[in-house]
Symmetry: C2
Subunit: 385 residues, 2 copies
Amino acid sequence: MSLKKRYLMTPGPTPVPAEILLSMAKPIIHHRTAEFEETVKEARAGLQYIFNTKNEVLLFASSGTGAMESSIVNCFSAGDSVIVARNGKFGDREKQIAETYGLEVIDLEYAWDEVVKTEDIARELAANPAVRGVIVTQSETSTGVLNPIKEIAEVVRAYDETIMIVDSITGIGAVACETDDWGLDVVMTGSQKGLMLPPGLAAVSVSEKAWRAVERSTLPKFYFDWKKYRKSIDKNTTPFTPALTLIQGLNEALKLMQEEGRENLIERHSLLAEATRQGVEALGLKLFAPPEGRGSAVTPVWTPEGIPSGKIVKIMKEDYGVTITNGQDDYKDRIFRIGHLGYFGMFDIITTLTALEMALTKLDYDFEQGVSIKAAESVFLAART
Amino acid sequence: MSLKKRYLMTPGPTPVPAEILLSMAKPIIHHRTAEFEETVKEARAGLQYIFNTKNEVLLFASSGTGAMESSIVNCFSAGDSVIVARNGKFGDREKQIAETYGLEVIDLEYAWDEVVKTEDIARELAANPAVRGVIVTQSETSTGVLNPIKEIAEVVRAYDETIMIVDSITGIGAVACETDDWGLDVVMTGSQKGLMLPPGLAAVSVSEKAWRAVERSTLPKFYFDWKKYRKSIDKNTTPFTPALTLIQGLNEALKLMQEEGRENLIERHSLLAEATRQGVEALGLKLFAPPEGRGSAVTPVWTPEGIPSGKIVKIMKEDYGVTITNGQDDYKDRIFRIGHLGYFGMFDIITTLTALEMALTKLDYDFEQGVSIKAAESVFLAART
């Protein structure tokens, strides 16, 4: 067809609503003004709402990786022991960053289709009481697998000198993340995910326990020095030039998210994920994530036998304008991933399932056309409207 | 679901692509400038491409009804005879306008689900050789019924003093309209239809034969005086303040349409309409338009027995954010209409059919979920990608 609309169904960047785009298109203001202080003040309150926390949430002009690195250099010193529990590409990255700064990593490695086991962390903590931090990815972008953050934090909480660091870059806004209730010391996210913004902004919430760790840290830092950000944010400003328009957009995003409501937001993502899962299973495909680790941000699916997932991704994009992604690293051509975190509604799932059905038809995969839509419709019909 | 994206599936206004919205958001220029003359020049060429004509296409800051009225007051005089062939609400309006200006209307009235019959026009013309004009709606917005403009124009062409006036407001850009090859003297459209713009701009192409009629016309006119517009457009300007940003947007629209190509544009609409028809028929619903009068701009569908169409429209809009329309006048609760002219791709049809399936499920209509998607997929899969 001569007109292909584009549908971005990836776990970041995610589509940006028109309201946010328009708020970022406003004339540039200067950042050392009362007007910008109001903007920062509004962002602080909104972020605390979305992070479920009374902690201060710091904002960086950086990608999510910058936020990850900031948590290592601010909370630890060279030679400190940390547990990195990893079951995907972004867990691997946490380990790399920790090692780059000379931390002793107690490495809990899992297969990508497993969830991190709380008992392993409990065992390692008991055996190594000097461990200063436990680092876990909540929602693995590389696989969509969800780790049991709440349970793990319960274990970590008993250790006064050990902080719980959560990479919730693909989690916040899509899955429950009760920062204060669960006792999460450091939680980070990036703008191009559940916050529905373009990339370029990262946010990190820091608990009092984490601030005590910051006091002990001797690793060198300048741009990512949390203390500078805390001092500035107390005055509703930033230590360095902020990503001005992204923060304007953030406020619009936070307004939309607050209007929708935290619980509704999580419920919506849960429905989108359930409809996607029911849809692909109706096609006879197998879900990659184990039942106990199925998140609402990304749905990873094993490709049918004999069809490299890249072929599905290519047809969906080139013929139908629907962008999903295949796997990463070892899973490159073995899985595909449908992102549905952020500005997505039910018909984005319907569109994706239909494009998937058409791609599978072209690849001679045997199934009954329309069954995935029937399955997704049933999920949506059973939900509140 | 707490986030409802909105889908506008009506036969006008139609969705406006981001490229066009952005072009209309440029800083306002003055209209008595060389810059605006360039804008008009570009619009003239683009409109001639889309109208398939070497005739000048005049632009009015008005709705489509303004263009309809302009064709009456410019081409005729009080007491002139015209044939109005009408099978819907907009045909009715042509008759009202003609009568308002004291024309003698030879009224060919058809049921809304019939097409205008060429032989009736041939007969009336033969019986009334003094008839000055034949007025027909190409694509009836009220019903989606397509009238055989090409055939009718062949008949009218034989009469030197009779012009063929075509309301193609819902036609241009969605169905073939070969202004010069078919010998159409006056063809009009509105901006909020196939041109993918907001409402507020109308365009009328005028043949040499029609200009001769204009010379004879004695009806009073000022704002809609075509001669004023012709004199101005020769200098790439307008007699009165133009709808400046809409003309900027028009040029962007014409660029998109030229990039897509006239033939592709018509083929795309034809596919969207075919998928819609196959989809609703798979649900066991009956098409309103007769087989010989099925256009590509709007698909009208008889509502299932016992379910007023307004109920379907309401659930689709309120529960799923998908706006279609019900019937007009006598058909208000008896049909619903799915618009697909303008900026629509295959997944807009999929979305609409899915929302329709869910609404019908809620209304206890008996069918197998997913069948309409299967039918639509088959249409899209059989087409060139």
